[in-house]
Amino acid sequence: MAAGFIDFAITWRAKVYADAPQASSAEDFGTLGITFFARKPLNEQERDDYLARQLCELPARVEDA
């Protein structure tokens, strides 16, 4: 994740603007309320280990036949 955080996860999402008293442009852009968690790494080693795990989890590229 940008700015050097680890363990980033969006844990909840909902249409929090639905039925609000005034009309909103939020619906036009599919706006949802969310919660997200992230953590500042304890040290560079933890950050590097986390980034390495993320890279390993990227799906392998499959070339067109």
Partner: protein, 205 residues
């Protein structure tokens, strides 16, 4: 055929902040007015705030609550922890956090809207919560020392920060190593054209 230059997003930051302050000044002073977002106790219920968290919180802080989620659903604040609430508004989340961290903990709420700060300070005084203070400030320039916080919470504020990279940079500077971000905000699922980003009324409504 020429290459089309990407549209520049040029915003008058002071004008934007002024419009946001005007909107949230109204939320502080006239929360029953009705906005393009939900407010108050009905919103807190919608977002699964527990009744026990709201008990003893002055009604003014509950009435002007205007969050987009529930940072405490990501985990409680622990006794003795230091918490920063970015965009603390009328103080509901800060006051809840201050009770979670207890007398050995501390909470700093910051907001840029004077009427919201006034509500939050009145509520803290009325509920005799001495481990919480409210400071005037911007998300991009948190008035908090490096490495002070165990947790940063925020609720519906990051989307209003004109310089999100700077705000995230501050959220990286202020926590201790291992510190947590427990953030509620909004997610836009459709692309927002640069022309729309320049419209200040879209930021506030």
């Amino acid at each position: 055929m020429g290459i089309q230059e990407p549209e520049q997003t040029v915003l008058d930051i002071e004008e934007l902040r002024g419009a946001i302050q005007q909107e949230y000044d109204l939320v502080a002073r006239e929360p029953e007015r009705g906005f393009h977002f939900h407010t108050g106790r009905p919103l807190a219920r919608m977002l699964d705030y527990e009744d026990a968290w709201l008990e003893g919180v002055p009604e003014d802080s509950i009435a002007s609550f205007a969050g987009t989620g529930n940072p405490f659903r990501l985990g409680p604040m622990l006794p003795g922890e230091h918490v920063v609430d970015v965009g603390s508004g009328a103080g509901l989340d800060s006051l809840i956090a201050s009770r979670m961290v207890g007398p050995r903990g501390n909470v700093i709420g910051l907001d840029m809207t004077p009427a919201m700060l006034a509500r939050a300070r009145q509520s803290a005084a009325a509920s005799a919560q001495q481990n919480v203070e409210f400071r005037d400030g911007y998300a991009e320039e948190l008035p908090v020392p490096d490495g002070w916080a165990d947790v940063i919470i925020s609720n519906g504020v990051l989307n209003l920060a004109p310089d999100k990279a700077a705000a995230l940079g501050e959220m990286q500077r202020v926590p201790k190593p291992g510190g947590r971000l427990q953030i509620a905000d909004i997610l836009v699922q459709k692309p927002v054209p640069a022309s729309a980003k320049r419209k200040i009324d879209l930021w506030t409504g």
